[in-house]
């Protein structure tokens, strides 16, 4: 492809500016601010437009930057000729939004635009077909900026980029950028060790949740155990309650039986005492009237006897416990006096009566004796009770005591047993309430295991998803690396061959060839067949080789296709005169088969070029031109 004419209808500072270019080497010379960059951008814009790479219709900053300073239609045209001699004219409208282009056959004027594919950005891809390079490939190879010192260090990356570009021709398919993007993606997920990363957080949360779940399950197990024991203890309590009820009944019945027996004894004893006293009274009564008869017959005896009887009766009635011996003494004394009198009056009758009296007296004494003994026993039996209170007690016990078989053991034994049972019951009740409290407390504190189980599963799912994503990222990155390596392996020897020829020219024959290995590392071979690493070369030589590399890459990329023009923007600023001359002469050589356009603000290059027979276009000062 040879560019014949640029026409800047209205573009940046230029308005109606025409630039006619010939084949071969052309140097565009102009001082700073003369618009060299604008012309470069115009050429790029004419060929590839001002849209960003990608799928969306977005514009680069240049689209706005080169709006005509003085207004008017933001457009231009370009005339070029292909290797087969066909000439085309392209007209382009740059205004973002309404931008577009038409490709015409320059001879016939036929609109050929529809012959070219249009991409998603609605960009007509005529240049890819006619230049033979995509925009990215063009920028990476055919468009050479300032050749800075030490650039060779970046050569490897450039080769890698271009290796891929040779086939795709697209910079946005840069392997390195893709690998970087994948690495960013993997980094966003993170690792287990990066504890604040998504993955790290998930792994830690999982471990914590699992621990919490294990603790909760342990707690649940303990609760179930306590509950089971509580159930057992409560069952024992129920049993004890049953036993207590039974034993308590027995005890009550035993108490009742014993109270009844006591009451019976008290009642019987009381009756006997009453009988005895009744007998004693009768005996006395029987004696008192017979004595009274005799007293009527003026006998002192009965009076004495009577007084003794009254004394005894009084004593008895007064409830005084009178000792048997004392009574007998009184009675004995009274009896003695009477007997003496009776004996004096009627000795025979008296003897009979005396015998009878003695018998009666003895009987009376015996009855009194027995009554007194029983009364003592009764008193001991009753203690603080009375027969009445005892009867009331029995009555009450009868009402309270449950029916049942008669007790086999005494109340005291039974009571002891009830006490023992009650102690056991209290012990179990305490254990039950302790267990119940433990269960209650534990239940309050134990987390919901179902919730935890669910959370754990969710986290595991999350972790798995991250791992799957990381595995996919890894697979993608590995595949891209492999693929890139493969391309390099194919590309490297071809690049080496293309570079080899140039190396000699650029280094004045000091180096014979350049070797490029599969990893795109370069070494040079000296005249005497020594291999020298790039790092061992002088800076100047390395820079020369870099230019050679660019040219070799362009050759490789356009092999068998249209020869794209080579565009260099002030390439030799940092070169000394000798190197600049060598480089320029190389370019002149290249220009025999490829149009070469050098933009420079250095008169040196313009002069050198003139000397080589190249055409030189001098850009007048843009400000002056603008007003012209």
């Amino acid at each position: 492809m040879r560019i014949d004419e640029l026409y800047l209808t209205a573009f940046g500072r230029f308005r109606g500016r025409r630039l006619a270019l010939g084949p071969g080497l052309t140097v565009l010379y102009g001082p700073n601010e003369s618009g060299k960059t604008t012309i470069q951008k115009f050429l790029l814009g004419m060929l590839y437009g001002f849209k960003k790479p990608g799928l969306r219709r977005e514009y680069t900053a240049d689209a706005a930057r080169y709006r005509p300073w003085e207004g008017g239609g933001y457009r231009g045209s370009l005339i070029y000729t292909l290797g087969d001699g066909q000439t085309f004219r392209v007209e382009r409208e740059f205004e973002p939004g309404s931008d577009g282009l038409h490709v015409y056959d320059h001879r016939t004027g036929a609109d050929l635009t529809a012959r070219f594919p249009m991409d998603r950005r609605r960009e007509v891809l005529f240049a890819e077909a006619h230049v033979g390079l995509s925009e990215e490939a063009f920028r990476a190879t055919a468009w050479v900026g300032q050749l800075a010192v030490g650039q060779m260090e970046a050569a490897r990356e450039l080769v890698a980029r271009v290796a891929n570009l040779q086939e795709s021709g697209r910079e946005d398919l840069s392997v390195q950028a893709a690998l970087d993007a994948l690495r960013d993606r993997a980094k966003a997920i993170g690792t287990e060790r990066a504890v604040t990363s998504l993955y790290g957080r998930t792994v830690r949360a999982m471990a914590e949740t699992r621990q919490a779940l294990e603790r909760a399950e342990g707690a649940r197990e303990a609760i179930r155990d306590w509950e089971a024991r509580l159930t057992e203890v409560r069952a024992v309590l129920d049993e004890l309650d049953g036993e207590l009820a039974e034993l308590g009944g027995q005890w009550q019945r035993a108490v009742l039986a014993e109270a009844e027996a006591k009451l019976d004894r008290v009642t019987a004893t009381n009756r006997r005492v009453r009988e005895l006293w009744a007998r004693a009274e009768e005996l006395e009564r029987r004696e008192r009237p017979s004595r009274g008869q005799r007293a009527g017959r003026s006998s002192p005896g009965p009076a004495l006897l009577g007084s003794a009887a009254v004394l005894v009766a009084a004593a008895v009635l007064a409830g005084v416990v009178i000792r048997q011996g004392w009574v007998a003494t009184i009675l004995g004394m009274a009896g003695l006096a009477s007997a003496a009198l009776w004996f004096h009056q009627r000795s025979q009758a008296a003897a009979v009566a005396a015998a009878r009296r003695e018998q009666s007296t003895m009987e009376l004494a015996r009855a009194q004796d027995e009554a007194e003994g029983l009364e003592g026993a009764l008193q001991a039996l009753l203690g603080a009770e009375t027969p009445e209170s005892l009867a009331a007690d029995v009555e009450r016990l009868r009402a309270e005591t449950p029916a049942g078989p008669p007790p086999a053991r005494s109340a005291a034994v039974l009571q002891e047993e009830v006490r023992r049972l009650e102690a056991r019951r209290a012990d179990h009740a305490a254990r039950a309430s302790d267990l119940a409290a433990r269960v209650e407390t534990a239940l309050r504190d134990v987390p919901d295991t179902a919730d935890l189980r669910r959370a754990l599963a969710d986290l595991a799912e999350e972790k798995e998803a991250y791992e799957a994503e990381l595995a996919a990222i890894d697979l993608a990155a590995r595949t891209i690396t492999e693929v890139a390596g493969e391309i390099h392996r194919e590309f490297a020897p071809r690049l080496g061959a293309a570079l080899g020829g140039l190396a000699g020219v650029l280094t004045g024959g000091r180096y014979r060839s350049v070797q490029v290995d599969e990893e795109a590392a370069m070494r040079v071979l000296t005249e005497d067949d020594r291999t020298v690493e790039l790092t061992a070369l002088s800076g100047g030589t390395a820079d020369q080789l870099y230019l050679g590399l660019r040219l070799a890459l362009l050759d490789l990329l356009t092999e068998g296709q249209e020869r794209a023009p080579l565009l260099l923007d002030d390439p030799f600023v940092q070169y000394d005169d000798a190197r600049a001359a060598a480089a320029l002469s190389l370019l002149a050589g290249i220009a025999r088969s490829r149009q070469v356009l050098v933009l420079t603000c250095h008169r040196r290059e313009a002069d050198l070029a003139r000397g080589m027979g190249a055409s030189v276009i001098e850009l007048v000062d843009a400000a002056a031109e603008g007003t012209a």
């Binding site: 799928l55 993007a181 993608a476």
Partner: protein
């Protein structure tokens, strides 16, 4: 829950008895991977209890004589005494119904389990790991049962047993049927000689043994679906068993269904388009009633990154429970890309070949995902979605 068409059969000869067959209630199920948040999980657990209470209502209303609960009534790991008390309280509401429970692998008859420690209602009989036959005194009914005594049981446990009394209705209630969960075959079941065998373990209802047109053994399925693995309508079986015929009817008891659907979002150009497509899966009433797992499928603009959490949040109010999965693929012309002479073209060819030769789903998916990621990376897309 209304049973409209249920009418007990008049059966000649030995009287027909009315039976309710229930299984796999799984009270306190943790609803793992069933979508929604923790709160939804708890809510679902409450709903399970409500469904169980509804089944007891059904038993009461229908005058059921025997209730057969074929295992996995509750989750041993997550049930508390309160859960068990709830279950027991329900059984106490139907004191005239003889309840027979054969514990399953989720609620095995373990030492210290509530089966052994809880004072169950008098109308409840729980079978342990020794097969046992209970002959009812007031009815000519015998019930054979066996319950899991461990988390796994690798052998059929009732090989030596046969119920043959022709004067009685012979029922059996069992859990398991596969793998390490008490495996058995229809022939094993047939050998029991039972008139009806209530099975539990498989959450989808289905007949296991049919003899002379009489369904003798079946799974009743889970009364309430427990996750997306259990689509469709769930319920219990209610009917009569006699020596001549078993007349059962499926009674739906499930409150909510788990619905899985693919939502093709091909052509969607904005997140709103994707949301609209998800909403179109069902009407509003259904969306508020059931649980949905929506798999977004189709090819979409590679620039349209679907942000699942955002989309999920956007749609949350529109669904009772929604689980979103992204299975969309960036709309690349893979055939054209594969023809491309570039690292990208070579990359696409490699991964398509890898996907082709993948031996498993995971491997295939990984290749497919790597392809999408790589293409995105070539287009300069890094970072997370």
């Amino acid at each position: 829950m209304v049973v409209e068409s249920y009418s007990p059969m008049e059966v000649k000869g030995v009287q027909a008895i009315k039976v309710l067959h229930l299984a796999d209630m799984h009270l306190e199920w943790p609803f793992v991977s069933a979508g929604g948040d923790a709160l939804r999980g708890r809510l679902r657990r409450e709903e399970l209890k409500a469904v169980f209470a509804g089944i007891i209502d059904l038993a009461a209303r229908e005058g059921v004589q025997v209730l057969l609960a074929a295992g996995d009534l509750f989750e041993h790991a997550h049930a508390s005494r309160a859960t068990v008390k709830f279950i027991d309280d329900q059984f106490r509401r139907i004191p005239d119904v003889a309840v027979f429970i054969s514990p399953g692998n989720h609620d095995p008859y373990l030492e210290g389990s509530y089966w052994q420690t809880y004072p169950w209602a008098p109308n409840v009989h729980v079978f342990g790991p020794e097969p046992e036959q209970v002959d009812l005194e007031h009815l000519p009914i015998s019930v054979l049962g066996w319950g899991f005594g461990a988390w796994e049981v690798r052998q059929w446990q009732l090989g030596h047993l046969r119920m043959g009394d022709p004067g009685r209705i012979n029922l059996a209630v069992l859990h398991g049927g596969e793998g390490t969960y008490h495996p058995f075959t229809p022939a094993d079941l047939a050998a029991l000689g039972a008139d009806y065998i209530a099975l539990g373990h498989i959450h989808k209802e289905g007949v296991v043994l049919e003899q002379g047109g009489r369904v003798v053994a079946r799974y009743s399925g889970s009364p309430e679906a427990l996750g997306f693995g259990e689509p469709g309508v769930h319920g219990v079986y209610l009917g009569t068993v006699s020596k001549e015929a078993n007349r059962f009817q499926f009674v739906p008891t499930g409150l909510r269904q788990y619905i899985t659907a693919d939502v093709d979002v091909t052509g969607a150009v904005s997140p709103e388009d994707v949301a609209a497509a998800a909403l179109a899966v069902d009407d509003a009433a259904a969306r508020q009633q059931h649980c949905y797992r929506l798999r977004l499928t189709g090819r979409i603009d590679p620039e349209l990154a679907i942000d699942l959490p955002v989309l999920q949040e956007k749609l949350a109010g529109q669904f009772y429970l929604l689980r979103l999965e992204d299975a969309t693929e960036p709309d690349y012309d893979l055939a054209a890309l594969a023809r491309e002479k570039s690292a990208r073209g070579l990359f696409v060819r490699r991964l398509l070949a890898l996907e082709e030769s993948a031996t498993g789903d995971a491997e295939r998916q990984r290749a497919r995902r790597a392809l999408a990621l790589g293409l995105g990376a070539f287009a300069g897309k890094g970072g997370g979605r």
